[in-house]
């Protein structure tokens, strides 16, 4: 693969943007990324989005957004992979830049998920499940996380409170991030008293649906050095899939797509788990953080939760997680979430993360999951 690098980043605050449409959010993030890179034009735009055609009643996002953001004429693609749409668009953009066929690529993640509320939104969120064998029974992504979490607690003898620190950590970091949706900290003990959405998954366990847009600009590494003083190198870009339906997995407590894509990413980058300075984990639910730590090779099977209880995941810990609040506190702008992770990792590696800075961050791992690990996109970035 021709080495590639990130030369520009942009993001909007994450939250309920009832006053802005998809195109407005997209434009804001794109203009910020272009300014950051000192560029006027890009050759291609890859848009990650999950709910354009459903919640926003808008498809053909590529042409719409390129036009509205002042990039008319660029080739455009829209990529959907549920909550991993952003990670998928990122990989597609990197492949395009690495191919040599396209010089400068802009990857955008954009979502408006809060324009519907209540049962209508839950229905829209559930279209990423198996319609004939899961959704028809009233299944939701939150209920699936609950099924995994209860089984995990049962098999490994883990208490609910063991997951608490994943959420506390996310909020401690999100509180310092001016772009985060929920900047409140979470007091110890509050997690266990929060109202249940699908027990044992509570309000303080589950990431909030949000609106937002984030963008990164990618080009060949040899060109990047001439464009910006601090290009961030893409060391690895990998993807893997698992069964769509949770019940089809031989071993539901093992995220096979996470394992495959992470091992492939480490091999591609020529590094091992110990070289990772921070991990933007797909923390839509605390159980996903625990299971991801295990499948990615950081923790032994059944021991992922211990990373939270022993507080190894803070900004000064052994493996900082969700350094800007993660999906939990920064908010979960579904199809944009994977691109937010990329923007945040670049800020860390530039040393520009402010109060959220992980000291001497050289290498960052980011991972975007669609469904409960049905799809995994894994990227490793490194400071030059």
């Amino acid at each position: 693969m021709t080495p590639t690098a990130i030369v520009g980043i942009g993001q909007t605050p994450v939250g309920e943007h009832w006053e802005s449409g998809l195109r407005d959010l997209a434009r804001e993030a794109i203009r910020a990324a272009l300014d950051d890179a000192g560029l006027e034009r890009v050759d291609a735009v890859y848009v990650g989005n999950a709910f354009g055609a459903t919640i926003s009643s808008q498809s053909q996002l590529g042409a719409l957004i390129a036009d509205f953001a002042g990039l008319k004429g660029a080739e455009t693609f829209t990529i959907e992979a549920a909550e991993a749409s952003g990670g998928a668009a990122l990989r597609a953009g990197i492949l395009a830049a690495a191919s040599g066929m396209v010089e400068t690529v802009l990857v955008l993640g954009v979502e408006k998920s809060t324009d519907t509320v209540g049962t209508a939104r839950t229905k829209a969120r559930s279209v990423s499940l198996d319609a004939d064998y899961e959704s028809i029974h009233g299944m939701t992504p939150t209920a699936q996380a609950a099924l995994l979490m209860r089984r995990y607690m049962h098999e490994y003898g883990v208490e609910l409170s063991a997951f608490e620190n994943f959420s506390i950590n996310a909020h401690a970091n999100g509180a310092k991030n001016s772009n985060a949706m929920y900047r409140n900290t979470l007091k110890p003990g509050a997690f266990g008293k929060a109202p249940m959405i699908a027990d044992p998954v509570s309000l303080f366990d589950s990431a909030p649906d949000a609106d937002g847009a984030a963008a990164v600009i990618i080009t060949r590494a040899d060109r990047a050095a001439d464009l910006v003083p601090q290009p961030i190198h893409v060391l690895a870009s990998t993807a893997a899939s698992d069964t769509l339906a949770l019940h089809d997995r031989e071993d539901p407590l093992w995220l096979r797509a996470v394992e495959r894509s992470t091992l492939a990413a480490f091999a591609q980058a020529g590094i091992s788990a110990g070289d990772v300075n921070l991990f933007e984990v797909h923390d839509a639910f605390t159980i996903l953080s625990a299971l991801s730590l295990e499948a990615a090779g950081f923790a032994d099977r059944g021991h992922g939760w211990e990373w939270a209880t022993t507080n190894q995941i803070g900004l000064t810990g052994k493996l900082p997680l969700s350094t800007f609040g993660g999906l939990k506190s920064r908010g979960n702008p579904v199809g944009a979430a994977g691109v937010y992770q990329a923007v945040e990792a670049v800020l860390q590696l530039r040393g520009a993360a402010g109060a959220n800075q992980v000291q001497n961050a050289q290498t960052a791992l980011i991972q975007s999951l669609g469904g409960l690990g049905s799809t995994a996109f894994t990227h490793i970035f490194q400071r030059a």
């Binding site: 049962t119 064998y133 028809i136 009233g138 209920a143 099924l147 995994l148 699908a198 069964t243």
Partner: protein, 102 residues
């Protein structure tokens, strides 16, 4: 999809006995549109005796305090949802705790 038992082609029809045990379960407080009437309802992963796992609701219980992981369950036919007042009624499978045979 639902995966066929080992050695059986996934695309062929296969008749399960309809019995198994609860692998995991949860009570859904925030239902999707079309399932409001039933909420809160119990969803479970059921490990069938043939080894295949399926997703289904647990029915014929007051609440989840009556069930536990490992409980024996059997398939029954129930209404899953209705597409509005004048739309189609969708029937399908749910599971209930295995009844004592007298």
């Amino acid at each position: 999809m639902t995966t066929a038992p080992k050695g059986v082609d996934n695309r062929e029809g296969y008749q399960f006995a309809g019995t198994g045990e609860i692998f995991s379960y949860t009570t859904v407080q925030e239902p999707p549109e079309g399932y409001e009437e039933q909420a809160p309802y119990i969803l479970a992963l059921i490990k069938l005796d043939e080894g295949t796992m399926v997703t289904a609701q647990i029915t014929d219980v007051v609440d989840a305090s009556e069930i536990a992981i490992g409980d024996r369950v059997e398939m029954v036919t129930r209404k899953l949802t209705a597409e509005g007042e004048r739309g189609m009624i969708v029937y399908g499978y749910k599971f209930r705790k295995v009844l004592e045979r007298l």
